[in-house]
């Protein structure tokens, strides 16, 4: 009986209530398109216009006319590249900031200045630097997404318990052993929090970067359909971007939880 009750509660918490919330927003959307925003396509119109893209998610009919998951895949690959690039620079930078007070004093101010710069500002600089849209996009993603990794890695290194540092000193661990056996494992939970936040930003940036470069992907598709006045597809893109971002975050927090307990 109690078992059944508990099961019932979790169904309410994780299925029924979220559905209520989603339905509520759909109703508001419908009301808005029926009343004060006549240019906003209503949910049915959106579904009709999007059906082809959802039902044949991997179809390729032209450069900027492809199934929604195919576009998503392009974007994900781009994000993966830019994010990896961001981590490749962010992790060592974070380690240095955490280890050396001098390094931190020298570079923390410039990091705080670069951190809030918008992707819309980095992209043109990337284009100037690399002369091609693709590397400029990766540069933008890396530049915007690396900061949480940098700051959390540094925090993780600074938070290593004094006990472990004493052990390392008594055992006279070499610099490399200190890094691999003490610093990184100890900072790992912090670093994963950074990785998760960075991935979230990388996914945010992808849309902006594809819009400006016109590269095929969810962001590029969104911008093209806006220019072609097919507003139903804007909504399709927004929903897709949101869902993918949500799934990425869930995935990362599962990995993060594993490292926390491990």
């Amino acid at each position: 009986m109690t078992q059944l009750k508990r099961y019932g509660t979790s169904v309410i918490d994780y299925v029924v209530l979220p559905m209520v919330g989603i339905m509520g927003v759909v109703v508001l959307w419908w009301l808005a398109s029926a009343t004060f925003a006549p240019t906003l396509p209503n949910p049915i119109a959106t579904w009709d216009a999007s059906r082809l893209y959802i039902m044949e998610p991997f179809a390729k009919r032209g450069e900027l006319d492809q199934g929604i998951l195919r576009f998503t895949w392009y974007s994900l690959v781009r994000v993966a590249k830019g994010y990896t690039l961001g981590l490749a620079f962010g992790i060592p930078l974070g380690l240095f900031l955490g280890v050396s007070k001098t390094f931190q004093k020298a570079f923390d101010p410039i990091i705080q200045i670069l951190r809030p710069v918008s992707p819309l500002a980095w992209l043109p600089l990337g284009l100037v630097l690399f002369q091609k849209p693709e590397p400029a996009g990766l540069f933008t993603i890396a530049m915007c997404s690396m900061w949480p990794t940098v700051l959390n890695t540094a925090l993780g290194v600074r938070s290593i318990p004094q006990d472990y540092i004493n052990v390392a000193r008594v055992l006279q661990l070499s610099k490399l052993k200190m890094l691999t056996k003490v610093m990184v494992p100890s900072a790992m939970p912090y670093m994963f929090t950074g990785f998760r936040l960075s991935l979230g930003i990388a996914w945010l940036v992808i849309v902006a970067s594809e819009m400006l470069t016109g590269a095929p992907g969810v962001g590029g598709f969104l911008w093209q359909e806006y220019n072609s006045l097919i507003y139903e597809h804007l909504i399709l893109c927004i929903i897709t971007i949101g869902l993918v971002g949500f799934l990425l975050d869930r995935m990362m927090s599962m990995v993060e939880a594993r490292f926390r307990t491990g």
């Binding site: 006990d163 004493n166 000193r169 008594v170 055992l171 052993k177 494992p185 491990g262």
Partner: protein, 279 residues
């Protein structure tokens, strides 16, 4: 010549002006093969004293010599067992010991290192838990790993900072007996820092009391000329041990009273100077 010698060692913490002197004028000599127990109040500066001997912190003044050389940093010739075990939680029992062995004997073959690690893990009877992580072990088992790690470095001297302080009474008794056996077999010079007079009497060749702080300093040595292995029961009933305990405890209580008096004296001074009319 003494293996470890401290002459006029002092250490304080804090900024100039608000400085607290923790240890003042510490003098101590430990000979090769001795097991010296330092007994003192919590907060008297026992850990500070050990950290200086380990080379983790530097003294403000005085000299610390080990094997004829001044102590400037930690070294493999001085093994340390910390109160809170200080095992790396992401490594197994074997890996924790192996990490130490690897640093101290880098030229050994992998087989030899493995054999060496396993010998010391067996010495503390943890062979069955070889591949477990610290989180899966009880407090007593963790401290055994810590002892095995320190011993596996084959140090000339073992420094132990309240090694059994965090354990329950039964586990503590077991580990004390094991340490007595290990110390008899290995004949390593050991320094045991503890707040437990019984423990000191059971294991030590002599007891050196550390007076109450601030400005704690070491008292006279109390030699323990009793046969080994010692029996726990004798500590309660043997007249020699009873007298020894009384002497050590009396000394410590005396220093505490003196420290309080000094404290009150300072307060009285402050009050009288405050009452003095401004000139």
């Amino acid at each position: 010549m003494a293996l470890l010698s401290l002459k006029g060692v002092s250490k304080g913490y804090g900024e100039v002006g608000k400085r607290t002197e923790v240890l003042r004028n510490i003098n101590l000599e430990i000979d090769k093969g001795e097991l010296v127990a330092i007994v003192g109040y919590s907060g008297a500066g026992k850990t500070t004293l050990m950290s200086m001997m380990a080379g983790l912190i530097r003294a403000d003044s005085g000299t610390l010599m080990f094997d004829g050389k001044p102590i400037t940093k930690p070294g493999p010739e001085r093994g340390v067992v910390f109160q809170n075990y200080s095992l790396l939680p992401w490594l197994t029992v074997y890996e924790n010991v192996h990490l130490a062995v690897e640093q101290v004997f880098p030229t050994w073959s992998e087989d030899k290192k493995k054999e060496h690690c396993e010998k010391y893990i067996a010495m503390v009877s943890l062979s069955a838990a070889r591949d477990k992580r610290p989180a899966q072990l009880s407090g007593g088992m963790r401290q055994r790993v810590s002892v095995a790690r320190a011993l596996a470095m084959e140090p000339m001297m073992l420094l132990m900072d309240e090694p059994f302080g965090a354990l329950d009474a039964l586990t503590r008794a077991t580990l004390q007996d094991e340490l007595a056996k290990i110390s008899a077999a290995a004949n390593t010079t050991m320094l045991l820092i503890t707040n437990d007079v019984e423990e000191a009497m059971l294991l030590g060749d002599r007891i050196v009391p550390l007076g109450a702080g601030p400005n704690a300093s070491l008292g006279p040595s109390f030699a323990i000329e009793a046969a080994r292995p010692r029996v726990r029961k004798d500590l309660q009933h043997d007249p020699f041990f009873k007298q020894l305990r009384t002497n050590v405890v009396d000394y410590l209580l005396g220093t505490a009273k003196a420290a309080r008096r000094k404290d009150t004296a300072v307060q009285v001074d402050a009050v009288t100077s405050a009452l003095e009319p401004a000139r």
